[in-house]
Symmetry: C2
Subunit: 270 residues, 2 copies
DNA sequence: TCTTGACTCTCCACCCACTGGAGGGTGTAT
DNA sequence: ATACACCCTCCAGTGGGTGGAGAGTCAAGA
């Protein structure tokens, strides 16, 4: 019979932790003095404690461990838990690697530029959404505005209000100055009958969207694009679909230097 | 100006999180209605939010991010942080890999044996300690008791009480039935002058000690040894020093079936 | 103008696996 | 008798949010 401190020295498990496990019922002291409350442990409890530590080390939670140890541990269930944990760990390793890539990219960037750029790239999940849209091949980028001139009356006509900022989707697989294949879209709550060239359709969700914010007039977009592409390449991603521009704040009449545009590329890990 | 819900939809950051960041001062709403308390955000805040998300994604804490964003971000300090993070991530990946190895070993073991053995192996850190010890080459394993017969009188003579259970350290690099090179040791608080063959010395700390508990008489130890060696090999470790046996509960007069022995091997990752 | 329903506010509790500390009792050696 | 190490319980805090209660606000349709 050991007092808690001795047992702690024996196992290298902190006293506080032993008390905590006692409280949880995960590993009760073998005896508790009725008068002083002192806990006493026996050497025979070492295997159980070692099991706890080993399972914890695999990444299981204390609740799971308690279940396994006290539930007579059906090997079926244990195998299931471990397989799940295995998949989880593999996933985590992938994420960790991606994170490491990003950190290394940052370091290189700082070394080259002496500071961190203020325009960040983030990977996010974009859910599916219903949009009203027109797709066309237009002469130049700046003609995309015309498509919205088609789109807006359509919405007004059907008394549908936008459910978010307008966006454009670019289908060209290579960069082109002229004859740009673009879809102008506006998110809506519910679909309406097609009218003219306008149709409502479902935009698919994108699991991994590399996104960055562009501030100011559209003329500066090329710089933002090249930074974004550089990021994607350097961080071990690959473009996996048509890119989007979300016109967060681009009122036609207002000062272009106050424009806010989000540039998005669907990507996948190489 | 967007209400919090709109801004949330725009950024895919939950409302609760935006409020939390506001509270932390990490990203304040650009305006708060004096009467209703409603928060309002502007599109111009998107870059800052993106920076927050990107830095969070690198694994920095919100406190660190706040410091960077508001402290004018000296690139020196940022580089330091990132280098630290890089090392941390690399370390984590190694640990993750070790964990994954262990999980896979478990799965194989379950598949082979249909259940999980009840004797676990754990890796732990063992601190340095001062011991009184005798080292000798003895005819067979069972003669190790004699060395304690030398050790105990020495302790009694100097009025030193043990600071932990006795242990033995085996220096043979290969298994031998006879002529075993062993050091019998007992932890003590402070050193005392050498007497006869007994000396006090400092046992070095061991960063990674693979340890398991053996229950019952010493005759069964070979089985425990072979399981432990199997574990070490299968989990990508290598023995890096002499192994120890800690006699947690092995009173000479008592029933050997109640003995509790800890078997330890210093290891390092391959 | 009223109602409805979506939206927003604050405040509190909870998650995990501990950790630290206050305040007080216990055990043992000198 | 007195140190001093050790033990107890209880409470609060960690990080980065999440969930819910209860109450107030806004905008569109009737």
């Amino acid at each position: 019979m050991f007092k808690i401190g001795e047992f702690s020295r024996l196992t290298h498990v902190p006293v506080k932790t032993l008390r905590y496990y006692d409280e949880l019922g995960l590993m009760k002291a073998v005896a508790v003095d009725r008068f002083t409350g002192y806990r006493y442990y026996s050497a025979g409890q070492l295997p159980r404690l070692n099991r706890i530590l080993a399972l914890k080390d695999l990444g299981l939670s204390l609740a799971q461990i308690a279940q396994l140890l006290d539930g007579g541990l059906p090997p079926e269930q244990l195998r299931g838990m471990l397989r799940l944990k295995q998949a989880e760990l593999q996933q985590q390793m992938l994420e960790e690697q991606a994170r490491l890539d990003r950190v290394e990219w940052r370091l290189r960037q700082i070394e080259q530029e002496g500071a961190m750029s203020t325009q960040e790239v983030v990977i996010k999940k974009v859910p599916a959404m219903t949009v009203a849209s027109v797709r066309d091949v237009i002469p130049t980028y700046s003609d995309v505005g015309r498509l919205y001139d088609e789109l807006m009356p359509y919405l007004g006509q059907h008394r549908i209000r936008p459910a978010g900022p307008p966006l454009a989707i670019y289908y060209d697989t290579e960069y082109r100055e002229r004859d740009v294949d673009v879809e102008a879209a506006i998110p809506v709550m519910e679909s309406a009958p097609a009218g003219g060239r306008v149709a409502t359709r479902q935009l698919p969700a994108v699991e991994q969207m590399a996104s960055t914010i562009h501030l100011g007039p559209f003329e500066g977009l090329t710089g933002t694009y090249s930074r974004l592409m550089g990021w994607i390449e350097a961080n071990g991603y690959r473009i996996s679909g048509p890119n989007r521009e979300v016109y967060v704040q681009c009122e036609p009449g207002s000062d272009p230097s106050t424009y806010v545009t989000e540039v998005q590329f669907p990507v996948e890990r190489v």
